[in-house]
Structures are given as C-alpha cells and as structure tokens.
C-alpha cells in the first residue's frame, strides 16, 4: 500500500466513488430530484392555480419553480406562470406587492415566501422593516415598539398565520396595557379595532379631537366619547356623528324650540349659563330700564318667542292714566324713566299756544282726566260778569290765547259814528267807555258832562 497516490484513491475507494455516483444518479433519475429536496413543500390548499391547489402537488417537479442557471428566466417568472393575479398586481405601485417590489427592486417572491419548510409551514415570512404594512390597510406607525419597549414581531399580532389577522388580536396586549380603558373602549366601540384604527393615525394619548371639524372645548372636553358617538362601530360611524347642538342637547332644551336649534347663538360650551343672548338682535330692543329687568318679568312661564311687544302687556298695572291714553305708552314715555315724558300736546286736538303753553297740565287736567276733556273755552274759563252774558261762550270770537285783550268787531247801536271812532270810538279800549260792565257805558269818563262836545276831564278831555 506504500505508493505516491492519494490515500483515498485505493481500489475500494475508487469502487466506492463509482458505486456512490451510480446510486445517486440512479436515485436522482428515479425520484425526479426529490433527493435534493431540502424539506417538504407547503401542502396548504388554496385556490386552483396552474392546475394544483398546493405546492406539494408539484413537489417532484423541481423545474416547475427552479429555473436553470443558464436560463434567462428567473424563479419569480416561474411563480408568475401560475400566480397570474399577483404578477399583474406587481405592476401597480398602489398595490402591496407592487409597492414592495418597486421599493425593493432586488426582491424576489421567495424572499417573503420561502418554501421547503414543511407541509404546514408558513408560506409568508417577512422582515417587518421591509414590508409596506400600510399597503394592506394598516400602518405600523403606532406599533414600532411594544409596551415592553421591544421590537414588534409579526407573531405579536398575527398569531401563527401572517396572512390572517383576527379582529380580537389587539385585545390581549391592549388589555395588559390598560385593562379598564380597553374594556370600556370595547364596550363603547366594539371589538373590531380596525374598523376605526388604520395604524396611521395616533389615537390613544396622542389623539386630538380638535383636528376634526367638531372641536372639543369647554365642557365638551370631559364628555365621554359615547355620549356623542353612540353605538359607533366604524370610522364612518364616528365621522358621521351629528354636529348640531340639538342632536345631543334636545333633552336639555328648555326653550321648546322657540329659539331654534343653534344653541351656540346664545350659549357657549363653558356652560348653559351665562347665556349671551343679544336681545337687541330681536325685534324688541332692550333700552333704558328694560335692560335691567329680569328676563322673567316679561318672559313669564318660560316663554320667549311670541312675547307681546306692546307696552300695555306688561305695563298695564303701571298706567296712571287709567287707560285714557291707550296702550302705547311709548307715545309719551321713554324706557329710561316714566317721568321723562315727551308728549306733544300740539298733536292732540287741542294744540297749546299762547298763554296755554306755559300752563301746568293740572290747570286744565285738574281731575286727572286727559282723554276726552272738553276743548271748549268755557270748560276752563267762566264768563266774567263784565260780559254781562252778552257774548256767549265762544271766547275766541273776541279773544286769542295770547291775552284776554279783545277786539269787538260788531256794531255799537246808538253810538254816533263820530270822529271816525266807529266801534272803537275814540280809539280806546272797551273799558274806556264800559267801565262797569259791557252793557253799560259812560261818556263822562272822557267827555265833560257839561260840555258834551268838549273833551272829558281825562286824558282825552283837553278841550275842557
């Protein structure tokens, strides 16, 4: 045995080489490559693709999936022969497979879908950093680290089967994190977390309701979600929560709809009171003392709309005029003060002029009667004895309101029309002749009784 040959190249060694080669070649030929099979192919049945329902059915045909080194075809091309839907999906970046291969050009099917790992082995295995999880409708933004500050593994959420996700998968972890909240949340919104949560938004501690159209302010901040989002089970339900006040506050509404449905016109979220109703926007502006009056003084029995606008509805009891001036107090009075009266007597049927202007009201309205008082002069003015009942009661025939001085334009029978005196004989006043009464007259006041043609002893009697 002492030779220069390699020790292994003995006779038996060479024979062993030949036998082994023959056995392997024979077995390879007979088994169709099964001997190179590193492990059973998946036997999981799916839909019928390429005439089979699982990879295990083509387990003996290596070439079905494995292209030769010298082929231009890649293994992924062999996948696409059967998986035509996925192959077309990969053309669209919007799809999960498309985005995955677009972002990772060197990625092939087998990198996520390894085979030969057993009949029951998972056919999808991914490095989570690689997988565009948002492309399947759920971002992992909010699931970077577990509550224990560890990296998430697929199995943390997909228990066993990465291609499925049980809706209640969230509960176990989130119950551990905060049992009472999770239970309350499940009761309020149901167990299908993904109906609302897409992983992109950060609910939980970072949730900010004020990013939405209905911002929470004042007392709304502390309201529990379900008071507004009743029986919400999906994100659509949440987003379609009514935003008008009455949808939630109908039971709180004491106005019986008289103010409409926009509570915010008067109320703020800080509380129902104080309400900041601007009464001046209504047809009844509050002025003067009306501003200080309690609402209930006018709005009795909780009524607001339809409250009568006329003064008398409230102020009948205040009417010192016993209704004589009608019901429109504002014709004379201002809301600032009852005593501040702006009555224009001249608009009445007895305009005040002359000496009447400066009279105190009581001089005429002595009995407190205002309406219907006689406008006849005689109702105030008596006929003086001096008139001797000669002129009746129409004072205005001779007098004006400026003074009692009168001009009688009638004829003076028996009085010679001398000296152009006419009625006003000598140009004097009535009393020059009628010194006692108007139906008696004397000449001697002017004329000397002894000299009828001479002037009297008075100022006119210069002729004496």
């Amino acid at each position: 045995m002492q030779s220069n040959r390699l020790g292994c190249l003995t006779g038996t060694g060479i024979i062993a080489v030949l036998i082994t080669t023959f056995v392997i070649a024979g077995y390879a030929y007979a088994s169709g490559g099964l001997m190179f099979n590193p492990g059973p192919l998946s036997a999981k049945s799916g839909e019928i693709l390429g005439g089979v329902t699982s990879h295990s059915e083509i387990g003996r045909d290596c070439k079905a999936c494995h292209s030769a080194l010298w082929d231009s075809e890649k293994m992924a091309d062999r996948c696409a022969v059967c998986h035509t839907v996925i192959a077309s999906e990969m053309q669209s970046v919007a799809s999960m497979h498309g985005k995955l291969t677009h972002d990772n050009p060197n990625l092939s099917c087998r990198h996520c879908h390894p085979e030969h790992r057993g009949a029951d082995a998972q056919l999808t295995v991914m490095e989570d950093a690689l997988f565009p999880h948002e492309a399947v409708g759920y971002s992992l933004n909010g699931h970077q680290r577990t509550a224990a500050n560890k990296s998430f593994t697929c199995d943390d959420c997909h228990h066993g089967d990465i291609s499925t996700f049980a809706p209640d998968s969230c509960q176990a972890c989130h119950s551990e994190m905060d049992l009472s909240f999770t239970q309350a949340h499940l009761l309020a919104f149901g167990a299908d977390c993904r109906a609302c949560h897409d992983g992109v938004d950060r609910y939980g501690d970072d949730f900010n309701h004020n990013r939405f159209a209905f911002q929470l302010m004042g007392k709304h901040i502390n309201v529990i979600c379900t008071q507004c989002h009743l029986d919400a089970r999906t994100i659509i339900d949440l987003q379609s929560a009514p935003q008008d006040c009455l949808a939630c506050h109908r039971a709180d509404e004491p106005h019986e709809g008289r103010f409409g449905s926009d509570c915010a016109a008067c109320h703020t979220t800080d509380g129902w009171k104080p309400a900041r109703f601007d009464h001046n926007l209504s047809i009844f502006k509050l002025e003067g003392k009306h501003r200080e009056v309690a609402c209930e003084s006018c709005h009795q029995n909780g009524g607001y709309k339809g409250t009568p606008l006329d003064c008398y509805s409230c102020h009948q009891k205040d009417d010192d005029h016993s209704g004589q001036y009608g019901t429109d107090c504002s014709a004379c009075h201002e809301p600032t003060d009852w005593d501040k009266v702006t009555f224009d007597h001249n608009k009445s049927n007895f305009p005040l002029n002359g000496a009447h202007v400066s009279l105190a009201c009581e001089r005429c309205h002595s009995t407190g009667q205002f309406i219907g008082l006689s406008t006849a002069c005689a109702s105030c003015h008596g006929d003086p004895a001096y008139h001797a009942g000669l002129f009746g009661f129409d004072c205005a025939q001779c007098h004006t309101t400026n003074n009692w001085s009168a001009r009688f334009n009638g004829s003076h029978p028996g009085i010679a029309d001398e000296g152009g005196s006419g009625v006003n004989h000598g140009g004097g006043t009535c009393r020059d002749c009628h010194t006692q009464t108007l139906h008696t007259a004397t000449c001697v006041a002017c004329h000397d009784s002894n000299n009828p043609n001479g002037e009297g002893g008075g100022e006119g009697g210069g002729g004496d």
Binding site: N4, L6, C8, G13, A16, T20, P38, G39, H66, A68
Partner: protein, 184 residues
Amino acid sequence: MLRGNRELWLALLAMILITGLYGLVVFLTRMIPPASELFGHSIGIIGFIFMLTTETLYSLRKRSRSVRWGRMSTWLQLHIFTGLVGPYMVLLHTSWKFNGIAGATTLLTVIIVVSGFIGRYIFTRIPRTMDGLEIEDTLSQETIKQARRLMALWHTIHIPIGMALFISAFVHIGAALYYATFLK
C-alpha cells in the same frame, strides 16, 4: 506517540465553543439556524473544508516520501481533531433536517466519524515511532500481526465510506449551488 488524548480534549473544547456559539445564535434569533443562512451555511462550509482538507492533507503527508513535513503523529492528531470538529459543524449545519442527499451525507458523516474512532483504537494498538513508523516492540509478533490485519481491513472500509461521503457531499454542494446559491 499517539497514546494521549490531547486531540480528543481539544476537539471536545472546540465543540463546546462551537456549541456555545450555536446556542448564542439560537438565543438571539430564537430559532434553529437554517442551513441556508449566514451561521448555518458558514458552519457547513467550514466543517466540510475541515473534513476535506484534513483528509487530503493527511493522505498527502502520509504518502509523501520526499517531504517529511511535520510528524505523522501530529498530522494524525490534526486529522482526528478536524475529523471530529468538522463533522460536528456539518451536523449543526443540517438544522436537524435530514432530507434527501443532504440527509444521506449526514448519515455518511456520522458513519465515517464512528469508523474513524474505531480505526484510531486499532491504530494505537500498533507500536510506532514518533514519525508513525511501526516499531518491533515488546508485544508479541502475533498480536502486532493481528492488529495490522485489522488495520488493513479497517482501511478498506473507512476509505470507501469516506469516498462515498465526499461524492455525496459534492452532489449536495452542487445541488445547493444550483438550487439555492445561484438561484435567480
């Protein structure tokens, strides 16, 4: 002389170290290192290189007459060391799956290691010099003859098994290159 067990202890130490490393990888990745990934693949390649090169180098040294480089006993110690550590690494490379040609190769590897153990104990029964030359010693000629016959018989078994193992391993490697490494 190959009377001590130094190479066995060293092999055991190396295997413990490798086991520790393996355990660390299992702990970190929380799975059995697959044959196709970095660690599993590496121990397979290194293990096979150990098996291959020590076999060929030992044989070359053994057959070489012109170059007497290193003592034969040292070479045998190295052969035994790598013949244990290499197969152990290859065993870990299997990821405990024994399908097809790879499984057959593993089986042959186990057989060759067992065979090597047997051979080692036959071999040590024959007195030798430090260079591995046999010494006509105190043992009875009959005992030595018997040992030599046994050694020759063992050779005719150990070497074909080794050859079968290598053929099987090459096919496995070729298939792995074809179906996995150069997979497009």
